[in-house]
Amino acid sequence: MTSNPENMTTKGSSVPDSRPPSFRASSVGTPSPRVRPFRIGGAALLAIVAATGSAAAQAPATPGTANVAAPAVTDTGATPPAAPAPEATPNLTELQNRIDAAEQASRIAVRRVELLEEQLAATAQAAKQQKDVPTFTTAGERGFNFRSGDGLYLLRVKGQLQIDTRWFLNDGALSDKADTFLIRRMRPSIDGTVFGLVDYKFTPDFAGASLAVFDAYADIHPFQWLRLRAGKFKSPLGLERLQNDPDLVFMERALTQDLTPQRDVGAALGGEVGNGILTYSLGVYNGAPDSANPDVDTNHAKDFVGRVLLQPFKAEALSGLGSLGLHFAASTGNRFGTPTNTLLPAYKSGGQNTFFNYISGTTDPAGTPFAHLRQTRINPGLYYYFGGFGVLGEYVWDKQEVQKGNVTTNLVNWAAHGTASFVIGGKNGYDGATPNQVLDFTKGTWGALEIGVRWNYLKVDGATFGSTTDTTALVFADNTKSPAKVQAFGGAINYVPSRTFRLCVNFEQSRFTGGSSVKTTTTDATGAKVTTATVTNRHTENALLGRVQVNF
């Protein structure tokens, strides 16, 4: 019965109604049966009020919004009189004014009741809708989504499966012949939102010998420019590290990944400013060694990690210039390693073979180096994408104080890489290749093809291997087993039928400096045989990798 004109959906075509179009939505015009008693009752009351000389404006207020005495009004233009003197006899005009004012008060009361009824009806309807439609369920590239009717709660079930094969060509001289098929990643993931305010994510990995947790965090985001994330997640080191695994041009990240942690546990403030032109993150973490994915801390010291990402082409005036990201991150924190828990990393090649280790004193703990105190990393990088074209490059400088016995020294390792890619039939971006049209045999569309090349390089501090001139210099790694440098060139061809599925073939050649030896036996002046080891280069690695990837 009420005159609620809201939320009516009508077709833009004909509206068969003879009333004025502006009021078709309304039932107003003739008071409804429910309104009429108010009006009749009100009129009766007003007659009494007028007759007794009581001003309507003096009526006491009743609770709620429909109970207030309205200001006295008149359509004649005269201001309603104050309460008349008891002895005065009101003239006709004054009586008319009082009746008008009382009528206004009555109408206002009725209208307020109507509005309250409308509000109650709307509230009841909203509650019913909330009850009737508790969730929206969708499925697509972003997983299977379950969302509450009010949009405040979201649960997404996602998954990532990578089935790899690795073949090492011309690897006869290698001891670790690792040609294999393997499950590289098997990560179901649950994420979503609660209260419309807090995001959450939980991602374990079932691939490999043991279950590992990769992401487990809560992310409170009251504003776009301010969010607090706490738990286990990627610390903001490594521009390529921060890309999602399924979106990488190459199946395995470049050598720079050897100098940044996989995940860390801590809390970080971050956000976007200026529509994403500036992204920042500043956090405190337990402090994970390079390449590590620890769940717990082993000491009281913490790492401080910060990052800024500038994306100037997000400015409206520059939006046609593509996507440019200028990244700078840094970390610093103390390590308290021990000979049994050194907190020092091993480095892996593009083929995921370990090529560098610090030495380990199997009988003498004093012969085992370990991380001691300050580790500092500096990590500038950039990316640029335009249409199908993209480049990404970064540099990591990593200084770690290392102790062996009672002696400490600072070792500086660094790595860099540059990756260029081109997507045919799709769009390139930091978030991976996106086909213009997904594979659909019925439409004759085939998805996209991504082609990439990269160079990457890692150099270990020369002091790690002692000194050829100073025999007293400490040795932290054996240069006949661990190379001092590695340089790799690679190519990638990825077929991307959709963002949820891709087939990858990569080839990468890694050339090492040092890391192997040739033993020579000679006879000395006394006739005794003497064996000496001459440092040579580790056998070049030619890694041919293949992958089937499902990601939703």
Binding site: S3, N4, P5, E6, N7, M8, T9, T10, K11, G12, S13, V15, P20, P21, S22, F23, R24, A25, S26, V28, G29, A61, P63, G64, T65, N67, V68, A70, P71, A72, V73, T74, D75, T76, G77, T79, P80, Q104, R107, I108, V110, R111, R112, L115, E118, Q119, F136, R147, G149, D150, G151, G196, Q224, N275, E316, T442
Partner: protein, 337 residues
């Protein structure tokens, strides 16, 4: 081995079915325009004109549905999942709320169309009873004792919010913010009913016969007088009022989901064409196209207009100061006075 003549036949039939279904889908596009209260009639005519143009340009039939209500409530509906392809709301702040709370619209929506995505402007005027018995001519007349004013709730209605800011802005010009607060407090003492939308207030005033003055969108005021009878109401243009800029935007996430982006964008761009601007003028919205505005100058009396940006520092600041919970409106308005 026997040959299988049915295979090419089945393939041919399948292809035909595929083509037929594809052709049907191609031939029709559906849009939902979620708008604020007083735009019903405007968009009925816009939809008809755009539909004809779109059909001529693309061969597609466009089926446009409309949803109307208080601007704030409509924005809330879109945030909660109403599958709008476009929103044509009364306030930029309402579109910003959709951006912020649902990310369904790109944050740079206001830059995607001319004039901050505002195809038409309007202002706030007074509607009074025929002959203007209480001689209401300026804003000061609204706060005289005994005067009853009808205006929608600024917490839910774009029209209500424009009216509130118009009142505040005019009073501020005379005596600063303190005077403005005092004025607006007095004004809302004279407002006994707060409808949730502008159309509801129009009904309260015109059909419930409540009040001496209605604060209304200019287009709503003209339409009320034209349709309910020029013998019943007069429009009063105050010397100064606010420049109301109701914006429009494509709901990016929804149009990508519905695959209706092309039609939705064309629909909003149509509002800026000469034809779209002329339809706006016909429905008493002030065209932003100077030429079309000039042709219709006689129906838009000159009023000294001030903008939200200039007077209040933009919608974000105005919303925070005046309409947030505990803000100035909550301070000055006491239900049940």
């Amino acid at each position: 081995m026997k040959r299988m003549p049915s295979l090419p036949l089945a393939a041919g039939l399948g292809l035909a079915v595929l083509l037929a279904s594809g052709t049907t889908a191609l031939a029709q596009v559906k849009l939902l325009n979620v708008s604020y209260d007083p735009t019903r009639e405007l968009y009925v005519e816009v939809n008809k004109a755009f539909g004809a143009q779109w059909k001529q340009q693309t061969g597609q039939t466009v089926d446009i549905s409309q949803s109307h209500g208080g601007s704030g409530k409509q924005a809330r509906s879109v945030i909660d999942g109403l599958e709008a392809d476009v929103v044509t709301l009364g306030l930029a702040a309402d579109i910003d709320a959709i951006v912020e709370k649902s990310q369904r619209i790109a944050p740079d929506w206001a830059k995607k169309l001319p004039n901050h995505a505002t195809p038409f402007t309007s202002t706030v005027v007074f509607v009074v009873r025929k002959g203007n018995p209480r001689q209401i001519k300026e804003w000061d007349d609204l706060v005289k004792p005994g005067t009853i004013v009808v205006t929608p709730n600024p917490k839910t209605s774009a029209g209500g919010r424009w009216a509130y800011l118009a009142a505040w802005g005019v009073a501020r010009q005379k005596g600063g913010d303190a005077a403005a607060k005092d004025y607006v407090t007095k004004l809302y003492k004279n407002v006994p009913v707060l409808d949730s939308g502008a159309r509801g207030s129009t009904i309260t005033f015109s059909q419930r016969n409540i009040g001496h003055a209605l604060l209304a969108w200019e287009n709503e005021a003209v339409m009320l007088v034209n349709e309910m009878g020029k013998d019943k109401f007069d429009i009063v243009y105050p010397t100064s009022s606010i420049l109301a800029e109701p914006p429009v935007a494509v709901v990016d996430r929804n149009v990508d989901k519905h695959k209706t982006r092309a039609a939705a964008e064309a629909y909003l761009k149509f509002l800026y064409t000469d034809e779209g601007q002329a339809i706006g003028a016909k429905h008493h919205y002030r065209p932003t196209n100077a030429a079309i505005l000039g042709k219709n100058a006689s129906q838009f009396p000159k009023v000294k207009l001030f903008s939200v940006d200039d007077t209040f520092g933009g919608w974000a600041a105005a919303t925070k100061a005046h309409f947030a919970d505990g803000g100035l409106f909550d301070q000055i308005y006491k239900p049940g006075w």
